[in-house]
Symmetry: C2
Subunit: 352 residues, 2 copies
DNA sequence: CTGTTAGCGCTTTCAA
DNA sequence: TTGAAAGCGCTAACAG
């Protein structure tokens, strides 16, 4: 054996970068045509057992893996992928929605891209574009911005869209949302029924549609109860737990403090409970929170909440989206998912 | 105008299905070459302003959107996508890991596919194959099965893999895991330090690696403390909160009940707390849980936990994965993320 | 600065 | 039952 041969052998067995095997490589190795390999890979009929066996052996020996992207290019079919853009996948509400969506997608052999928008409209738009370019079959979106008309520009025509948790604006697509105003009003009336007349509202940024709707529910309830709307008892723009804690502390330090609190979001509820605890007021100041919280039943008092149904929201939205993808062209609308008042103690504390 | 012409015009304006515009369409409309369009779309230099303007106008008029899949086929580069396979995206631990991974991915312009395995090894494998075919650059996996050697078959060569939360078996890849045994032992010793000698263990299925490691930590601690290991105080196979509730109820009904509980998972902890409450034993039976729980500090007593750091786990794993994708070939290993004992009351209840 | 040609990995005619 | 050729939408490599 010559040095040259030896060297050549070495070069062949240790290539700088190994190209991934393609169907063509498989075809060559099995000594069949490209089309035959394609038929075997896709379980199409019309291949003799002998050839099929040879092809499968070649596939294993080479470590061949089909390339879904290349396939898509030719078939121009669906990608069997949808994108899910939520506020923050780590928030229990979003996480529950995501899980419900995944369940529906899984049944249909569809995979889910997910991402958090973090209340950033620019990011919302960039993500829509990103996933549009990847040709997802559909987009499930919890809008952060106040105008989704950009979707018409950013998404390839034919990409289905359904909004979750918050209504879309500026574009005609289905939305699946909680009865925010109704639920909030129910919570406030529940407090009033316990004799409270000074009921504070603690909410997130009003630019968030759900926050604003819940505030509207609060106002409606206050008005229909014939109570005065005291601006001093209304606090918006609470972005995290600690903000709510501070706001409650300030409210209760007033000369005319509220006797009851309506907290319009899960993290706000938690912050408020912390403040009440620190002030030793958890048994004297009533509280109803919007959106349920894990362990809320084990606190003393238990936290009375207006519970949302994130699983139903996710399930409904996913089903709507898949119907659109399948060709449903009925006029889009808003699906409302009702809330449930869960009495656990904090909301039943009487005014006194 | 003839009928024929008329008919032809009609057919053209109302096509059965409109083809999405491609670069070629844009090129034709702007009266430039395909390559020029490509340059404009990719912001490559070397295009006169005049042409660029024309091209961009054509893009808008036609509603053209680049096709990421087709691009990939030609460049054979990265897809800038990774897959994240977790136990259940709705579990707070998994959700926190997912969020941390997304943060790292976002910085690099990488999108995340996510899916829940639900402790089903067959599903784990099917998902790996699915995402492999979609040519993700890398895979972040919390293994459910006890053998991941299948990955070598299911994944195209060159796909990076890092395991999160649970160690990989049968394949040499990086893993990022909590110090489960150490953390569990610390929790048990903490209970012993409060005078407890009958400390029960409540855990998930032992087939889950983390559950088994935590049990090992329990045994180690019991042994090193010179306490007897009473099999009657050890309960495995608790799959949900309600199971734990039942197990605690049974344990405390024994003639020689435990004076302290070590609950080895977040949902188990919650179930145990519920049982203690119902039995009015929350102040007499001590409890330390593994993995932190939201609101644990607001309960009475607060729940003492051995907290994990899911954010650190997700961040570390993602960084490791991206390093591999970038070409790091150093020998894979196990990264341990430490736990923190958080004293809140339930774990400090003295034996009496 | 601009365009032409070839081909990524696969499926779809259509022919043998 | 099998295969050859064409082309999906795009970019790389080279011209002009």
């Amino acid at each position: 054996m010559s040095d040259a041969t030896d060297h050549a052998a070495h070069v062949q067995t240790v290539p700088a970068r190994r190209r991934r095997p393609t169907m063509r490589d498989v075809a060559q190795r099995a000594d069949v045509s490209l089309k035959t390999v394609s038929r075997v890979v896709n379980d199409e009929p019309g291949v003799s057992t002998a050839l099929a066996v040879r092809v499968r052996r070649a596939i294993d020996e080479l470590g061949f893996h089909p390339h879904a992207g290349a396939r898509l290019l030719r078939t121009d079919g669906r990608t069997s992928a949808i994108a899910l853009l939520l506020e923050d996948v780590a928030n229990p509400f979003s996480a529950a929605v995501q899980r419900a969506v995944e369940n529906e997608a899984r049944e249909r052999g569809v995979v889910v891209f997910s991402a958090s928008i973090d209340e950033d409209p620019a990011r919302e738009r960039a993500l829509a574009r990103e996933f549009g370019a990847r040709r997802v079959d559909g987009l499930l979106l919890a809008p952060a911005g106040d105008d989704q008309s950009y979707l018409a520009d950013e998404l390839p025509s034919g990409t289905a869209v359904v909004c979750v948790d918050r209504e879309a604006n500026g574009i005609a697509v289905d939305s699946v949302i909680t009865t925010n105003a109704l639920g909030a009003a129910e919570g406030v009336r529940h407090l009033a029924a316990a004799g409270h007349r000074r009921i504070a509202f603690l909410g997130d940024r009003r630019s968030i549609r759900t926050a604003d709707q819940r505030y509207a529910g609060y106002r409606d309830a206050i008005a229909s109860l014939g109570l005065p709307l005291d601006p001093g008892l209304v606090v918006h723009d609470l972005r995290e737990s600690a903000d709510a804690d501070g706001a409650v502390t300030a409210l209760l330090a007033r000369p005319d403090p509220p006797t009851a609190l309506f907290t319009a979001q899960n993290l706000i509820t938690i912050g408020a409970v912390r403040a009440l605890r620190r002030l030793g007021a958890e048994w004297s100041v009533a509280l109803v929170g919007f959106d349920d919280v894990l362990l809320a039943d084990l606190l003393s008092p238990g936290i009375t909440v207006v519970a949302q149904d994130p699983a139903a929201i996710g399930r409904t939205a996913a089903n709507l989206l898949f119907a659109r993808i399948a060709g449903d062209t009925s006029p889009p609308g808003v699906r409302l998912v009702p809330t449930t008042l869960i009495r656990r103690g904090s909301g039943e504390i009487q005014s006194g």
